[in-house]
């Protein structure tokens, strides 16, 4: 199942040649949202008027103007932690209800310039903190493949919007697996680019040294096209690496070495997922690649490292939500400090409060060295593990999650069980390397993805192999 049952590039060609109009595509998308969103809850905001107006503008362009737009007329969904000028951006939080950014994120400017049409803002775990989309102030998102199951998180709304055929493409963000894990759970493709490839300007920060915006779509080709649009130089993000991504033809994987980390295929991985990854190994071998076993000796500590670093950064980043500059402010307070405390108590959900407190604790006097500094050192070791592994292989193949999507409510009481669902994805964020999740099979009717990871700036080779296994 996919939007118009064809690739985004083909739909773009149809718009450019005039065989289909942007207005028709927008109506198709809005009709699907109207039919399915009440149950799935993938969108927090649907911007029908803006999308229709933009479609009219695009349809009025000359053939020559349209020919330069690589996403001409494509309806797209944007995760609601990515700023959109004049369109409510909540980050899934009550504290930002009604907030309308006065500027667009860099990636939003780029997709608009490329001719894409934003039809709405997608649901997420509040401030991207979660792995199931059960932490949103705007309600849980349901997995379109089984509405009793979670869609994964935190980009659960973007994944569900694509999987339910409401849009052919979406933007997500990935801090510890938040694009790849929901892509896997919903049966779509999702890419976390190399840290620094896509500008974070306009992304509401959760953990700045881990966050990356990335594409989500029905196929590797569609995601490669969107990546080529959003990657690039932006001086408004001081961590942007001035790299571009060129959407060239796919190459063969003949002679490429595919690393299989021994630590990822041990205890904790379900037999069903293991069997699905085994099939993908065989496909790569068939295409001429060679399999090698590699070792990542410190990745067993990746989740612990992540929860120290991410929460420390979050405690600092979320201090901007203070009831002064934007969003919610508590009523009837007695002093400035009282206003801060009541505003934040009313505006933040439980998981966000917990992570802010944990981050504050690990950064506080007397604990900084034992927790934060230690985690930053282990992060270096995890990064070195990948650098060493990539001396022996070109790419790494692994599961995305140990098991398919779990049922709504199944893991909400035990924080560690929930956090462990990101065990195969967080390391790429810690090391700053790219990763992709590709649909690989099904267990009991629920999709399961396979993950490929590459050295920094190795997106091209990663997508070549992803194309083989997809």
């Amino acid at each position: 199942m996919s939007f118009f049952d064809t690739s985004v590039a083909e739909i773009v060609k149809a718009v450019q040649s005039g065989t289909v109009t942007a207005a028709e595509l927008v109506e198709k998308s809005l009709a699907a949202i109207a039919e399915k969103n009440e149950e799935i809850n993938a969108f927090i905001t649907v911007c029908s008027d803006e999308a229709r107006a933009r479609a009219k503008e695009i349809d009025a362009l000359s053939a020559e103007q349209k020919s330069t737009m690589v996403l001409c007329g494509i309806p797209i969904a944007v995760k609601d932690n990515i700023s959109t000028k004049g369109i409510q951006t909540t980050s899934g939080s009550k504290i930002l209800k009604g907030y309308t950014p006065p500027y667009d994120a860099d990636s939003v400017e780029r997709i608009i310039a490329a001719g894409a049409i934003i039809v709405g803002k997608t649901n997420l775990d509040e401030f991207a903190m979660g792995s199931s989309n059960e932490n949103s102030a705007y309600g849980i998102v349901r997995n379109p493949r089984n509405t009793n199951a979670v869609p994964g998180g935190s980009s659960g709304g973007s994944a569900a919007a694509v999987a339910a055929d409401m849009v052919p493409l979406a933007l997500g963000s990935d801090t510890g697996g938040s694009i790849r894990q929901p892509a896997s759970h919903c049966g779509i493709v999702g890419i976390k680019p190399t840290y620094g490839m896509v500008s974070r300007y306009g992304l509401i920060a959760y953990a700045s040294s881990l966050d990356q915006i990335g594409p989500m779509g029905n196929s590797v080709e569609d995601c490669a096209l969107l990546l080529s649009v959003i990657a690039g130089d932006d001086r408004r993000d001081s961590t942007n690496a001035r790299k571009t991504y060129s959407n060239d033809a796919f190459s063969s994987v003949k002679g490429k070495k595919i690393g299989l980390p021994a630590e990822y295929f041990g205890e904790g991985l379900t037999d069903e997922v293991r069997a699905i990854i085994d099939e993908k190994k065989a496909k790569l071998v068939e295409a001429g690649a060679e399999l090698v076993t590699v070792h990542l000796p410190h990745v067993s500590h990746a989740i612990a490292t992540y929860y120290v670093i991410a929460t420390a950064e979050a405690s600092s980043n979320l201090s901007r939500f203070d009831g002064v500059k934007f969003g919610h402010r508590a009523e009837g307070t007695t002093s400035l400090i009282d206003m801060y405390k009541k505003t934040r108590a009313e505006g933040f959900g439980e998981e966000v409060k917990k992570r802010i407190m944990l981050g504050t604790y690990v950064l506080s006097s007397g604990y900084y060295d034992a927790y934060y500094l230690k985690a930053a050192q282990v992060r270096t070791l995890i990064t070195q593990d990948f650098e060493n592994a990539f001396k022996e292989c070109n790419l790494i193949l692994s599961p995305v999650t140990p098991a398919p999507a779990f049922m709504i409510g199944e893991k909400t009481s035990d924080p560690i069980q929930m956090y462990l669902t990101d065990i195969y994805t967080v390391s790429a964020n810690l090391a700053g390397i790219p990763g992709i999740s590709v649909p690989a099979g099904e267990v009991n009717g629920l999709p399961v993805g396979a993950q490929l990871m590459a050295p920094k700036w190795g997106e091209k080779g990663m997508l070549d192999a992803a194309k083989i296994i997809s």
């Binding site: 840290y195 002064v324 934007f326 927790y371 924080p415 956090y419």
Partner: protein, 94 residues
């Protein structure tokens, strides 16, 4: 388990008001996570530099050219309480 005094201290530093009935839940949840992250102590990090930057290959300075910024009206447009071109806050000095 984190004691209630620690929860109060962190809540204050985090500028969060926590109702008394929610404190046992936070004590338990934060305790569970802190016990889990204790595993980092097992890792020998002698002489290992902490990761501070992920993109060290370039300088991040843009050219020194004046560019437009948000207007004052745009910057104030989302303020919950705005008076005379400023964000307004509860009185600080009596």
């Amino acid at each position: 388990m984190v004691d209630v005094k620690t929860v109060n201290t962190i809540a204050n530093l985090s500028r969060l008001e926590i109702a008394d009935e929610n404190k046992p839940y936070l004590q338990e949840q934060l305790g569970k996570i802190l016990i889990y992250v204790e595993q980092l102590r097992e890792v020998d990090t002698t002489g290992v530099l902490p990761t501070a930057f992920l993109v060290p290959e370039h300088d991040s300075l843009r050219d020194d050219i004046a560019v437009d910024s948000l207007t004052i009206d745009d910057a104030l447009s989302n303020g919950p309480l705005v008076t005379k071109g400023h964000f307004a806050i509860p009185k600080v000095i009596g």
